[in-house]
């Protein structure tokens, strides 16, 4: 498939001429940090935190196992704060008209809210819209932009902010900590089951821009919440950077599911840190779909810190032309009787590269823990590449760890069988690939599942000759 055709099928590849209300000069500096803190009217501790994080960013090295990034990203060419909106609106009508038009084109309209418990829409650095259904708000569910969360609920915010992912954690967590803007703040009170998903859509519109949203989710005891995020960006000839930080605290016996459909254009470096703490009896599930971006580096992780916690990560990566999906998962066990499961499926085609990188760590307290890891990779043509880099570290004799991975192609026999049943070759391949990813796709909300199937079929086009 030609580049042209590929971009033609990336229907989110358009960009709109949005007037920036606020924009800083390109490059990273303490002045930009001060400017952001000023316009956001932040408390002093946050300003200090940002400055400290920027210093940490400058000090930290990129890990050696991430080849190429250092040469590919020029941090001085990136603009760290662009806001096309004055403030986050709570009524769709209050969102500036040109931005509403952008979201209409993406198919995210007010109507969608009917299916969702809450909807957030971020464009470049700021949340343009953030609202929650009345019924949920009445139960005490908080769903705000992260900036508003800090101002309206300072205590609970400060208690959790940067506690799962401190800026020292890695270079991109430090970068996010210095320039974070937007993202969601979610609090589900004790015992509240938030049955309908909360959804946020992230859009990059500006060129050579860095989006650093920050999400903090707290599911209090016995609660439930499903958070869904999607994203897209225009196709430019330059590169943008998306370095998000997502921190989740799943308190005792609560359950949280976080679903991502990442569909950035192939201009975007997607370097994201996602981590959840699962307390006693809690369940944390990451459903992570990576279909776009130039390079994704993302390993959603669950730290089991309370007895009987369960962590589950379903990861789906599709690496097409000009993409490198370096996706994976981490499960870290710090408490007894916990269980974990990682199920990863990747497809690489048209010269794309899909890598699974994972960590399972059993610490001495992980008595009677069990974990199972499965990674399957499908490689469609000789130009493509697939890697598996799992690490398992076990201290002591109290845990059971199992890992399995396989790499295969769509076999001639499978195609032959379907063709002998009168199915066209292309349809046969598409059917086999869809069957391969089915276990993960079926976990997605309906609209996303349909979208994934559509995208995969597009990527599959012309892959068998």
């Amino acid at each position: 498939m030609s580049t042209e055709l590929l971009h033609g099928t990336y229907k989110e590849g358009f960009h709109d001429d949005l007037k920036a209300v606020r924009k800083v000069p390109k490059g990273l500096s303490h002045e930009v940090v001060d400017y952001m803190s000023d316009v956001k009217n932040e408390p002093d501790w946050m300003r200090q935190f940002r400055h400290r994080s920027l210093d940490l960013f400058k000090k930290q090295e990129l890990p050696a196992w991430l080849p190429g990034l250092r040469d590919e990203i020029n941090f001085d060419e990136i603009t760290y704060y662009v806001s096309p909106v004055e403030k986050s609106a709570r009524r769709w009508e209050d969102v500036p008209e040109d931005i509403r038009r952008t979201y209409d084109k993406l198919g995210i309209a007010k109507e969608e809210q009917k299916l969702l418990g809450g909807l957030g829409a971020q464009i470049d650095s700021e949340m343009a819209y953030h609202n929650i259904q009345e019924s949920l708000a009445k139960k005490g569910v908080i769903f705000l932009s992260c900036d508003d969360g800090m101002k309206e609920f300072p205590e609970i915010f400060k208690e959790h902010f940067a506690k799962a992912i401190p800026p020292e954690d890695n270079k991109f967590a430090a970068l996010n900590s210095a320039f974070w803007s937007g993202g969601s703040f979610v609090y589900i009170p004790k015992g509240v089951k938030c049955d309908i998903p909360l959804s946020v859509y992230f859009r990059i519109n500006a060129e050579q821009f860095g989006q650093f949203e920050r999400t903090l989710i707290i599911c209090d005891d016995d609660s439930f919440c499903h958070y869904v995020e999607g994203c897209s960006a225009p196709v430019y000839t330059t590169h943008s950077l998306h370095a998000a930080v997502v921190e989740i605290f799943v308190k005792e016996r609560a359950r949280c599911r976080y679903t991502t459909i990442q569909n950035w254009s192939t201009d975007v470096y997607n370097l994201v840190t996602k981590r959840a703490f699962a307390y006693k009896g809690a369940v944390m599930e990451w459903v992570d779909g990576n279909l776009g971006s130039k390079r994704t580096v993302k390993y959603p992780s669950v730290y089991m810190v309370g007895e009987g916690a369960h962590g589950e990560i379903l990861s789906l990566a599709s690496a097409d032309k000009n993409m490198w999906q370096d996706a994976g998962a981490k499960l870290v066990f710090h408490a007894p009787n916990c269980t974990g499961r990682i199920n990863s499926k990747s497809i690489s085609g048209h010269g794309g590269r899909a890598s699974y990188r994972g960590l399972v760590q059993m610490n001495p307290a992980a008595k009677d823990c069990r974990v199972q890891v499965n990674c399957d990779a499908l490689i469609l043509d000789p130009q493509s590449r697939t890697d598996t880099y799992p690490t398992m570290e076990v201290d002591g004799d109290l845990a059971t760890v199992e890992h399995e991975a396989s790499v295969s192609n769509v076999s001639e026999e499978q195609i032959f069988y379907l063709m002998s049943r009168g199915i066209k070759k292309e349809d046969a391949v598409s059917m086999i690939v869809n069957g391969f990813i089915e276990p993960i796709v079926k976990e997605l909300p309906m609209e996303f599942a349909v979208e994934i199937n559509r995208l995969i079929n597009l990527q599959m086009e012309g892959s068998v000759g």
Partner: protein
């Protein structure tokens, strides 16, 4: 006794050797000089503690003696490296250092390539089948000494042989804190249609630090089956690699490791499929007890257009104490699309059900454990085709299990 590895000591022990060999050693020495000592910050080394390995305490005069056993006939060469270098200089020159290059950036492999002294040359001419196993016994002697034996094996097209390689000796903890530095290298060429059965184990003294690098190039329709055993030493880093260089080539790699007390073992395996329609299989089984550490990292690498590759890799670990540390890292790097590659890794303890079954048959708890540990390692031992060597493996394991 001279201590310290320097340019001067290298020249002293290699004077009188042919120019090409001294140049090779020089190149290796420069590689060694250039590279830093591994530290815990390197991912491959983070689980290992090498503080007790003091290079400046080590005497540089090599102190390994070798014993060769097994009949040779029909032009088979089976002799020590010094003899080979004089009598079969051209052959040695053709193969030595071709699989383990002197400028390869591995600190201790470079030290070995610069300072190796003892060693064995095995050459099996075209279409010759050697029925009786060829046995090499390397014995490491002395206190605070170094040993660098090098083994070079060439199996010509259509030939077949069995090679048994044993490493023993070296200081024990009772020797006043004396240590031993051992670094061995083995280069194996199995040419088109050739077949090598290769069995190797080490049972060093408990104060030995060993660095092993074995590499084989497997030609068209050629086959190598390896069984290796790791039993002794304080620390051992074992690199074992096969390069699938011709269609129809096969490599079967099996390993057992019994780690106890404070033993540290690193196992780095590589199944490198350069050519398609090749098969590689691997099974490494480790038992960990007391405060032992094992770190398995295995790579299956499939180059572009190596279609028809079939590769499998399994690492199974049995952990018997809460103080052990067991890491496993099976890696796949795949650049072809017509293939099948799988790997599996597990870490687990003895199954309660299995224990219960054996107890219900009247075995004491200790007996039941012994049976299960030995049964766990048995699939690897079953691959050893030389009966008396299998017995040796079995005895070594049994003695460890019952702490004899």
């Amino acid at each position: 006794m001279t201590t310290g590895f320097t340019q001067q000591t290298l020249e002293n022990i290699t004077s009188g050797e042919p120019v090409w060999l001294r140049q090779q050693r020089q190149a290796a020495w420069q590689t060694f000089e250039k590279l830093p000592l591994p530290t815990k910050r390197d991912v491959e080394w983070q689980r290992f503690d090498l503080k007790a390995l003091k290079l400046d305490k080590i005497s540089v005069e090599p102190s390994v003696t070798e014993k060769l056993g097994g009949a040779t006939k029909d032009g088979v060469i089976f002799c020590d490296m010094a003899t080979a270098a004089t009598k079969h200089g051209d052959l040695v020159k053709e193969y030595l250092g071709k699989l383990i290059a002197p400028d390869e950036p591995r600190k201790f492999a470079a030290l070995h390539a610069a300072f190796w002294k003892t060693g064995t040359f095995v050459y099996v001419p075209r279409n010759v089948q050697v029925a009786t196993p060829l046995e090499i016994l390397y014995e490491f002697n002395g206190r605070n000494t170094a040993g660098f034996p090098h083994t070079l094996v060439v199996v010509e097209p259509g030939a077949e042989a069995t090679l048994v390689q044993k490493f023993v000796g070296g200081p024990q903890p009772s020797n006043n804190g004396a240590i031993g530095l051992h670094a061995s290298g083995t280069e194996v060429f199995v040419k088109d249609g050739g077949h090598l059965h290769y069995i190797s184990y080490q049972n060093f003294g408990a104060n030995v630090f060993d660095f092993t690098l074995k590499r084989a190039r497997v030609g068209r329709d050629a086959e190598i089956d390896w069984v290796i055993g790791q039993f002794g030493a304080s620390f051992q880093r074992y690199d074992i690699e096969c390069e699938m260089d011709g269609e129809g080539g096969m490599s079967y790699m099996y390993g057992v490791c019994f780690a106890e007390h404070n033993q540290q073992f690193g196992q780095f395996t590589k199944q490198h499929h350069k050519t398609g329609n090749t098969v590689s299989d691997l099974l490494f089984k480790n038992v960990l007890r007391d405060s032992a550490v094992t770190n398995y990292a295995g790579m299956i690498k499939v180059e572009k257009n190596a279609n028809g590759t079939n590769a499998y890799q399994a690492n199974r670990n049995l952990v018997l104490s809460e103080k052990v540390k067991c890491d496993t890292k099976p890696i796949l790097e795949i650049e072809s699309n017509q293939l099948r590659c799988t790997h599996g890794a597990t870490v687990g303890r003895l199954e309660d059900q299995h224990m219960f079954y054996l107890r219900s048959r009247g075995l004491r708890e200790e007996q039941a454990r012994e049976v299960l540990i030995e049964a766990f390692l048995d699939p690897v031992l079953a691959r050893i085709q030389v009966e008396n060597v299998r017995q040796e493996f079995s005895t070594l394991i049994h003695n460890k299990v019952v702490r004899k």
